[in-house]
Amino acid sequence: MNRTIETIRSEVTGESCLHVRHESGLEIYIMEMPGYQTCHALFGTRYGSINTRFRLNGEADYAEVPNGIAHFLEHKLFENEDCDAFAQYAKTGADANAYTSFDRTCYLFSCSDNFAQSLEILLSFVQAPYFTKENVDKEQGIIGQEIQMYDDEPSWKVFFNLLRAMYHEHPVRIDIAGTKESIAQIDADLLYRCYYTFYNLHNMVLSVAGNVNAQEVLEICDRLLKPCEDQGLEQVFPDEPYEVREKLVYDTLPTGAPIFNLGFKLKPRSGLEQVRAEYLASMTMQTLFDPSSAFYQEMTEKGLINSEFSVDAPFTGEGYFAVTCGGESRDPEAVRDRIFEVIEDAKKNGFDREGFELIRRVGYGSMIRGCENVEVNATRMVGAFITGIPPFSAAEILASITYEEALQFLRDEINTDNASLSVIRS
């Protein structure tokens, strides 16, 4: 594989970044930001909690691995054969971390001094797995406590209860960290299998932004990336019906006012069509329900919602797509019913066209604001890798969406009969 380098430019802000397809198979995004002291780097893989069934190079059968293994692997990768990655970062002063979500795992650091050494640590430890029975057993206790911590968080629980209500089969309904029972099945061999499947550089991205020099980044990459063969990774996701599984789910936890999440399950698409659908869904829902809407004012005056209410960013990935909103209410069912009425009314009579234009402006502003932040830029470039939509495309997509298209989307796609409400009370 030959190296390709392209410069991608933002028409709006004049910013640019380099997009490199490295001969090792890795995609690299670099944004030099003059005037900044800090750097932010992420080394990520398209591997999250939903990637539980897979095979390589046309193997006969698909492997199925325990829930929570991607997250478990993330914890374990920090331990190398001779010392752990945090101890190495301690020698550079960088602030390091990692996270696992539904569709990705990212290892990251922020620093203002010793960037090159920190990048070397990042590239080295992620490429050097070391799993043993002892270090896997030790982690069970730590992750077990992490799972229990999340079990006590109403905002986490209300969201996962919603996912379980919306989805019948798709692994998005499973907790990212798994359960104490599922992680008990994890051993070193399974971790190696998942590692060599998903931590192939063809499935990975490096994104750096801030006080960095592109040449220096590429030199370090040339030195440390271990070229690997594309292994023809194939994955399957179970067939997921269009309909939600349950329309209403309740749970209890110590909490203040009842908290709720309402989710509309939508048909997932792929590529640019999916990205456009996300913009349409998000702009429509915000126009109808954000603080500048008539709904928000009315519900606030009636005391049915408080300032915690918000429309979330679309929830989307391979095989799932939903728009959600939520907050606190003494009567979540009444809020849901009013939301349904507003949607049905908008389908019939159209909605606030001026409000829609305001939401477009908000989107434009948010895009500009993010550009001044080192971390946001680096994270957005990882997003570009995951979605396949080049950086800085947001402005163009945002400008091209029409009110008529949004109204049609609302009529065709957002179905009040295909929504779930999740509530948690004390």
Partner: protein, 424 residues
């Protein structure tokens, strides 16, 4: 950071910070007042009232549409503790004028909007609008009730209430539900007037260029307000209890929460910061490496400083049966530092981490404001260069002395009820 400071009035300063790399303008007003039972709820309510509506934009809807029209400008209020003081903040942030699609002067609009909120609220005859008051009061009551949602921070709040009992710092930031129930549109308005007249006020601007013109607008806006700023106490070390307090509160949760409060003042300035990084605030700290990694007792076990109270709070989420073992392990790590049982490498790692944070200052507008404000509040008005130098000079003995200054004050445990049934 390129700062210019301008006197606006008695106890009112305006600091404009220019950073050409930024694409936004932020204005933040910080009002500093004494904290206490009689005021905290009023502050919490008035910051919400002043930022949700104004005379010009008298509904949440009208205000929100105005902000959306300014490309999603943000307008935020807040109230929080700084030792025994309260800081009531109001801020507005908008994209820089050069990105406005119709050549609007967004910075001037943002300044006018914020000043409109502060000086022309939605109020008449010495009282806030009844409807706004009703909405925001309920919102505040909900927020107070929701403190229990985040078990980790709730446990820290409960521990702090016991450790700092009798000091203004112990009082909840938003007050209590009972306090809120006593408030009226007129009583909160009276506190608002008092704040305008008596607070020490710092107003920060951060943007691509200095904005001296905002200073002129501020002078005009404050001209009609009589000023008699109250003297503030920036340092308020907390005395240590003679006997260690042990508090246990049962709750129907899956994981117990442990909070250990230590008190004491390091003889050398900043030595406690360095001690804290090595002891418990970093992923290479002794708490992380031993209590989490070696003993597998928890997912998190970390320390943080309540600097102005000269205290250190350690928090962890544990299985009930491991609570005592974890407490012992935490105190053992502290003992190791007291005895000098740590390597020079560990000390240098901690120093590098502190310096790394310091050298990154000024890369976001909020960090510019934070550092500038920190310098104002610090007893010696230390800026980044002074701190840098001081961090470099701290010795091994300074860290040992800092650890030896700490005394165990309070052990708080949120105890999981029916642990066995829930975990099976």
């Amino acid at each position: 950071m390129n700062e210019k400071e301008m006197r606006i009035g008695e106890g009112i300063d305006y600091i404009t910070i220019a950073e050409p790399k930024f694409k936004t303008n932020t204005i933040e007003m910080i009002f500093m007042m004494p904290a206490g039972k009689e005021y905290n709820s009023s502050y919490a309510l008035l910051q919400a009232l002043l930022t949700s509506t104004s005379k010009a934009y008298p509904t949440i809807n009208a205000m929100s549409r105005k902000l959306s029209g300014m490309y999603g400008a943000s307008l935020k209020g807040g109230s929080g503790k700084y030792g025994d003081m309260m800081q009531i903040t109001f801020s507005v942030c908008t994209i820089a004028n050069r990105y406005a699609l119709n050549q609007e002067d967004l910075l001037a609009e943002a300044a006018d909007l914020l000043l409109g909120c502060i000086f022309a609220p939605h109020a008449e005859n010495g009282a806030f609008s009844e409807q706004d008051f009703r909405i925001e009061k309920q919102d505040l009551l909900d927020a107070i009730e929701a403190e229990i949602n985040d078990k980790r921070s709730y446990a820290v709040t409960r521990a702090a209430a016991a450790a700092f009992e009798g000091e203004p710092y112990a009082y909840p930031t938003d007050g209590t539900k009972e306090d809120v129930e006593l408030l009226t549109p007129a009583s909160v308005y009276a506190v608002y007037r008092k704040m305008l007249e008596e607070a020490v006020i710092r107003i920060y601007h951060v943007g691509p260029e200095h904005a001296p013109e905002i200073g002129e607008r501020l002078k005009t806006a404050f001209a009609g307000t009589p000023r008699r700023p109250v003297p503030l106490t920036f340092r308020s070390p907390s005395p240590c209890h003679e006997e260690v307090q042990r508090i246990t509160e049962p709750m129907p949760v899956n994981q117990s929460k442990l909070v250990v409060v230590l008190k004491g003042d390091a003889p050398k300035k900043y030595a406690m910061n360095l001690m804290n990084v090595m002891f418990g605030s970093s992923p290479f700290s002794m708490l992380f490496m031993n209590v989490r990694e070696k003993l597998s007792l928890c997912y998190y076990c970390s320390s943080r400083m309540a600097g102005v109270k000269k205290s250190l709070l350690i928090s962890s989420g544990v299985e009930l049966e491991n609570a005592e073992k974890t407490t012992d392990a935490i105190l053992e790590q502290l003992e190791s530092i007291k005895n000098g049982d740590f390597t020079d490498d560990m000390l240098e790692d901690a120093r590098r981490s502190l310096l790394n944070g310091l050298h990154g200052a000024g890369d976001t507008p909020m960090s510019c404001i934070l550092w500038s404000h920190h310098r104002y509040c610090d007893e010696d008005h230390d800026g980044i260069p002074e701190m840098n130098e001081a961090y470099q000079k701290l010795t091994r003995q300074d860290v040992i002395d800092a650890a030896n200054a700490l005394r165990l004050d309070t052990i708080y445990l949120m105890q999981q009820e029916g642990a066995n049934e829930q975990n099976n």
